[in-house]
Symmetry: C2
Subunit: 84 residues, 2 copies
């Protein structure tokens, strides 16, 4: 595997796991007042397109990272819709 | 330009502009209690690596999208550090 693929995977791991502390905070506090609904609606839709892009261009870091990001970001979106 | 490059660019535009309503909300309300500091620290670092990855693999959507995402996400991080 090329060096830049490692950088891409590390980038993907970081931007993906970054949503985990936000998801945990949101689940725990059930407080989503400061979180933008427009952000998470738009972000989730964009991430779905990244997954499609990564799949069809056979770009492993883009595909894997965005698939996991979607799961986390979508769970935050659900909380935002639920708690307002 | 290939069709999948358009999908990638659209994905990049959506995941990038998604940070704009969050940044505007944060600038306006100066309230960042519900936003996770760990998320934005980790996310900004990851996005910098995506920029490097996009540059060296000559992947235009990944490079452009993450460059703009960094500017917005970093501004939210600054607000979080300032307002707590």
């Amino acid at each position: 595997m090329e060096f830049m693929t490692y950088i891409g995977l590390l980038a993907g791991i970081l931007t993906t796991i970054s949503f985990l502390p936000q998801a945990i905070k949101t689940w725990r506090t059930k407080s989503t007042k400061d979180i933008s609904l427009a952000m998470f609606l738009c972000f989730c839709f964009g991430v779905v397109l990244w997954v499609i892009y990564g799949f069809y261009t056979q770009n492993l870091p883009v595909f894997l990272a965005n698939f996991a990001t979607f799961v986390l970001a979508f769970s935050i979106l659900i909380c935002k819709l639920k708690y307002g």
